[in-house]
């Protein structure tokens, strides 16, 4: 019997592909944003509002991932994005292999911005590098301000936390101050932007964040 030592991270191959994708997107000047949240937090509605706000200003592509359906891709395509739907066939998160497939299908030439809409789940999407330049999550008010305590990992890896459905704040025990403290204990550099995709309140700060991130990605 011969022992062959491997000592390799399980995700080493994935991480290598993720780095290659990032380098390729950098060269193209295309900002790839990985968007994560629970099911029902408002990823697709937020994307539709974002497309409306940036229409005529940025060329935007969207890679939708779902276990099985293309409802979301149809919705965002109607809103004017170039969209592809990935079926993950039961996988609960996206990895760099799937991002690569999505980018191939989308044809990123000439796009300023691509959203990778991850599968609705706060657990494993946080663990796997998709190759995106920025990681953004949406947490909605009805989910509760205790989520950083329950799902710490995702809050550690994101650049931005969007707090959606603030129009519902009067009906829920969601304390924004407490929430900010909990997020910053896990990730002091994460930005937090409260907004409502339904009323449009606070959306301007989010589109400004996108503009700044896209400009920085093209420049640096």
């Amino acid at each position: 019997m011969k022992v062959i030592e491997i000592k390799q991270q399980v995700y080493q191959q994935n991480d290598r592909i993720a780095s290659e994708l990032r380098a390729e997107m950098k060269q193209r000047g295309t900002l790839l944003i990985n968007l994560m949240s629970s099911p029902g937090a408002g990823k697709t509605t937020t994307l539709v509002r974002t497309l409306e706000a940036l229409r005529g200003e940025m060329r935007i592509g969207i890679i939708e991932a779902d276990i099985d359906s293309d409802v979301d891709a149809l919705t965002v395509a109607r809103a004017g994005a170039q969209a592809v739907q990935l079926h993950t066939g039961g996988m609960c998160h996206l990895d760099a292999f799937m991002t690569r497939e999505g980018l191939k299908a989308l044809n990123p030439a000439g796009l300023d911005l691509i959203f990778l809409e991850n599968i609705g789940n706060l657990l494993c999407p946080a663990e796997v590098d998709t190759g995106a330049a920025r990681n953004v999550m949406i947490l909605s008010v009805p989910e509760g301000d205790d989520k950083p305590l329950k799902y710490p990992q995702i809050f550690r890896v994101v650049d931005l936390v969007l707090v959606n459905k603030i129009d519902a704040l009067p009906f829920f025990d969601f304390d924004l101050t407490v929430f900010r403290q909990r997020v910053s204990a896990l990730n002091p550099s994460a930005q937090i932007l409260p907004y409502s995709a339904r009323t449009g309140e606070g959306l301007g700060a989010w589109t400004d964040w996108i503009r700044a991130a896209a400009a920085q990605w093209k420049r640096a």
Binding site: M1, V3, I4, I6, K7, Q12, Q13, N14, C92, C124
Partner: protein, 113 residues
């Protein structure tokens, strides 16, 4: 499902390495799983036969070594187990810490026949 997808990653890597080493039969695969990593050893074992079916690893035994999730308390410098102490330093009660171990998820080695 989560563990199954992860095992596909493992199979891809192990098959590459086995080929590079001219290994044609594998008796065992040893994985190192940290207590704080997002995989559950029990589910890895459960998915394993399906993940290796028809691959070089078919018939190879899966061995899992679990490494402890330890942290260093920043205010008082005590080393403690995060799971056992539920994320709080048992000496000073605070939750400012640096993780020392337990996040790893490694393919440690294979035993070739």
């Amino acid at each position: 499902m989560h563990e199954l997808g992860i095992l596909f990653n493992v199979v891809r890597t192990v098959e590459d390495i086995a080929r590079q080493n001219q290994v044609t039969r594998i008796a065992a695969l040893v994985l190192q799983v940290g207590e704080l990593s997002p995989v559950v050893p029990h589910y890895l074992q459960a998915c394993y036969p399906a993940a290796v079916d028809g691959t070089l690893l078919e018939g190879a035994e899966l061995k899992i070594e679990v490494t402890p999730g330890n942290a260093l308390c920043e205010p008082c410098q005590k080393v403690f187990n995060l799971r056992a102490s539920r994320g709080k330093c048992p000496r000073c009660g605070r939750s400012q810490y640096e993780i020392l171990s337990g996040q790893e998820f490694l393919i440690k080695e294979i035993l070739a026949c």
